[in-house]
Symmetry: C2
Subunit: 738 residues, 2 copies
Amino acid sequence: MLPPIFRLTFWLSLAALTSAAFTPARAEDGYRLWLRYDRITDEPLRARYATALQQIVLSTPTGVDSPTLAMAREELAIGLRGLLGPEVKITVSNRSTVELPSWAELKSWYDKYRNPPEFYTLRHEPSDRVVISSVSDIGVLYGVFALLRHVQLGLPLAQLDTTSAPKIQRRLLDHWDNLDRFVERGYAGQSLWEWFYLPEIRSPRYRDYARALASVGLNGVVLNNVNANALILTPVYLRKVAALAEEFRPYGVRVYLTARFSAPLEIGGLKTADPLDPAVAAWWKAKVDEIYTFIPDFGGFLVKANSEGQPGPQEYKRTHADGANMMADALAPHGGVVMWRAFVYGADVKEDRVKQAYSEFMPLDGKFRDNVVLQVKNGPLDFMPREPFSPLFGGMKKTVMAPELQITQEYLGQSTQLAYLAPMWKEVLEADTFASRLVDLDNARQGVLIASSPTATVAHVADGTLHQLPLSMIVGVANTGSDRNWTGHPLAQANWYAFGRLAWDHTLTSEQIADEWVRLTYGSDPKVVATIKKILLGSRETVVNYSMPLGLHHIMAEGNHYGPGPWPIANTTRPDWSPPYYHQADALGLGANRTATGSNALEQYAPQLATLWGNADTVPENLLLWFHHIAWDHQMKSGRIFWDELALRYQQGVNEVRVIQREWDSLKGLIDNERFTEVKQRLVRQESDARDWRDACLLYFQTFSHRPLPAGVEQPAHDLDYYKTSVIRFAPGHPGAK
Amino acid sequence: MLPPIFRLTFWLSLAALTSAAFTPARAEDGYRLWLRYDRITDEPLRARYATALQQIVLSTPTGVDSPTLAMAREELAIGLRGLLGPEVKITVSNRSTVELPSWAELKSWYDKYRNPPEFYTLRHEPSDRVVISSVSDIGVLYGVFALLRHVQLGLPLAQLDTTSAPKIQRRLLDHWDNLDRFVERGYAGQSLWEWFYLPEIRSPRYRDYARALASVGLNGVVLNNVNANALILTPVYLRKVAALAEEFRPYGVRVYLTARFSAPLEIGGLKTADPLDPAVAAWWKAKVDEIYTFIPDFGGFLVKANSEGQPGPQEYKRTHADGANMMADALAPHGGVVMWRAFVYGADVKEDRVKQAYSEFMPLDGKFRDNVVLQVKNGPLDFMPREPFSPLFGGMKKTVMAPELQITQEYLGQSTQLAYLAPMWKEVLEADTFASRLVDLDNARQGVLIASSPTATVAHVADGTLHQLPLSMIVGVANTGSDRNWTGHPLAQANWYAFGRLAWDHTLTSEQIADEWVRLTYGSDPKVVATIKKILLGSRETVVNYSMPLGLHHIMAEGNHYGPGPWPIANTTRPDWSPPYYHQADALGLGANRTATGSNALEQYAPQLATLWGNADTVPENLLLWFHHIAWDHQMKSGRIFWDELALRYQQGVNEVRVIQREWDSLKGLIDNERFTEVKQRLVRQESDARDWRDACLLYFQTFSHRPLPAGVEQPAHDLDYYKTSVIRFAPGHPGAK
């Protein structure tokens, strides 16, 4: 053995090496969402809370515990222990008197929104006791989450006293999840529902999911894909659904299922699914009764019928109303609803696709049962980065309509790109439809008459105040999956949060919600809060700029919908699945003429809007190409010609991503390295993607405009053929991807 | 406002409510595997370690840091900080002299196993300094893991001094992962490799995966499915592979890829993939050279050729050796290898399927290049719960053979049932092939002659000592996936661990490995250790008993391979895909006659074994039906007739699951509630599955035996038709499941 020679090159103190990032069990992996409950670092503030929050009263009519109140207590335990420290002793008591600040205030909420008793009141008594009241246990749980949010945000206890009630009754996430755990248009791993392992084996994640929903006030979930499989309605699967419902129930979350219209043929042994056939109606009635034996609080069915190949009543020469009402009659005795999707368009393109839903459903206004909800995507096409609102919101007056918003970013960069969607949703919710209320109130559905709604916005259609309908609902297509951080992109958690908060109260601003979410998720360092808020608030417009600016739409890659694809799709039998149908590029210009000289989709809107939007000089520039075919040399408001404006808008999108990158980089050291790196890596990809969008679209449109790129626009990295042949394979969320 | 009435029903102290299970961030979700590093609770022991482990020397020839040594330091930091507490100050130093206990000892290891310099020595100096030495950085990292394991196990420092080297050179996990993240026969979620997001976006899990591999001494990974897609060999994917290789490299883990034999046609633009066509050879050479520009330490190709529809050299009338050697020649200059799978069988069933691999490959012995490895499944069929070893291990003498073991439990209950597989693998590794060594050593490959190997076990074939071949390898088909706990079933982590430990040292016993794993994963409470070890050690035999006892095989459900399916598969064109081909049930009896009066598969084994196994009275009872057709009234060793024995064996399997349930239940309160519940739920499912196996198989075989169930066997819950029509849909890991 050789004698040892000590050549010590350096010494390292292990203490210096260790950090949270090295310890997987406590890694900042995003699992905790906005419910982090980390100890408050502002010690005087923590001490004030610790003094004031030692006695908490849960006040309900019964005054006794239930599974939901147990969850409320558990949440207080987790939350306050984390925020204040385990050394603070806290007692939680129940009592049977609901102590409300004002019955009148509550009655006005209730009359206005006809809500189930989900409100809560918070009151900080002078004796340093906090009372959380509701007439329901779930209201108390919502109050607990509100209290914990208040503390997490570091707000003064003087501002605690409040009463809050949801403006919309049914606030749902809609999962496009298949039984094999593939999520259609899902970009965060597999479905959360482990069907094969249910009902015996129940992931702890089911409760964490329901808890997250309750924390933002969501109260329902459609478990499976609108492109439905009838097997979900068979007993073997209903037992599994019941297990999920059991896990969700304490958090006030009810389950809904999609119903495949042809289920009577596929699992029922019938020869027809004709909704007017008594045997069919009887089958559905028996099936619904059976479902309620498994799930006593089952929410209802969501149906995609006669759309994109899904079966429906039209196969039997029946209307959508015939189909929906037949199911609604089966559900009504149990308090269930039918959500019938308005996203329909014919296989043969008779008229401008964006007109078809309106054409199909307007004649049915007033023909639906009380427990039917028409579920309407925010825009008339399909979740584009920007669309005008769907004209159905202004058109139908006797039909309950639920806005369907897409939280998953199918057309906005999926889970690699950043797009905070609250501004997009607010744009729709606050859009004035200019609809008048029905003068003849006898024709309106029952409901308590209220004074007036301020404007006929989409939000007031959705919350039921405009047309005083007895039911209200809003639906978000989920962006969740089995990824550890739930949403793939760490910042996409903000979209889940924002949807929930807006579903509860659509008057919150995008900025308020962003402010809350950033503080809850990244802490209250002023630089961190200001930077991430700024990044979030502009991010959707950035995606619009580098992908589909100025009202462009549906020019994304075929199938996966991820990158650019403005060129025609080869061998398609459907012109309306091919981008030129929408952008109409030619030697003269670009854009779809939907004025009276074109498809006249404008006629589906109120006259005020038709006039405003029908004129290329008065239409908002961000909808220009949605409604108008614009000449390449058209003079824009900027003074530039249209082609130059278009090109610069694409470049602007790329530039903005680079600004976001710099802003994010400035957070290094201010937030944990793990989440810092995760977003940083995604921004690298986004910048590359943004350049691809710019280059591919400008090269393609240039084959029509024959104009040079203006100064300030970078030269493309490749030729057009490169982009046309760069096919992304195995894209997540793309059915049939290969 | 009503005056408040206080009706306090009860008070709860929050402190009593909070527990680890309520705090998601620290939940016992299994992510940490066997690398938990929780603080040692035995305070005197912790103090002793804390004194002795404050100075650690990493001793390598260069004495300078590298990415691998940085990982070694990081692991020491994480590990010792966790185990000893952050208050213990520890210094780690490098030095350039390798201080080994005995060069002679090392030389003997090296000569015997011709291993790369991956050994380590640990020495606890009297001055309370621990020296970890190796001639390579990776050896030091292995030593660090060994040191940490020693401390985690609470072993005396007096037992620390050791030298350890792997007996097999290349120790690989083989992932059957597709580019869309589907894992064929994977039961733990999606593939860990997020291809769409690479190379920019790199999950922190990549490093945690490599770290887990290194911790048990594994040094390679085949990233993609043997049912291969040629796209993996295109630059867009090679860039992604290179990113993974970069993440793995510091942990000594090299990447390998499967090579689709027809790649020259599919991505190369050639008209043929004929291995003897110079253009084809040139294409592969260029492709390999290209791969090494991306991944300088690329390990090599794994090829499944002319098997189950995969393309191969036989399409061009060439042999497996022609195909393998052509690729091997391309890889040789870079030090890469070809793993050629022996799992082949013809589309037309010419002879007993279990004979085909031997028939096909024996004539090729001696015809393969030095850097070709024949990858041979442990048994001649396909990873059944019990098989005899593959006769190729005893047959081929001039060919490097790597045992392919299946860690993922395709035929052993997947991730809902418990089966600790070390006893199954040991059964194979310790099986004596009775092969003689070549007398004419000139015909043997080059290699250093050693004295003799004790017996001609499969292990000694695998480690190269029997035939003195220059290369050795062992491969395990991975059971990992995106599930938070990596393996789906929490206890299936033990199989990953056991494979790694056996790959390093096949002389370890199943019991030793189980003991280590339980202590590392669940702590050292004697009751916990004893109970879980007992559960683990019998668990594989339990699965055998309730599914395929007494040598039965291939009677599982079609396609998903999960539950029972002994009946014929309807409409199959292949008799060898239908269970009756294997069990041969008829009015006389049950089992495959593979003696000289039957298919004579026995002739492929050494004469000693052919004699022993050819006699129904001397063949081990657990292989009885593998080799013999046994009459229903055949007298068994127990004194019972065969039918009664069979039925009771099925019942015994069910009974054993119930015993496991009771044993597991006895751990309540002794381990964390989260992992307790997770396993408990799975055992409920397993008990139900076991009954299904018993009932379905006995009802079916009863249609041949026409005998009643003996006393002690429970009556079936349903009739045979129920089981035949209970199709499991959307089973995980089943390609084409619907």
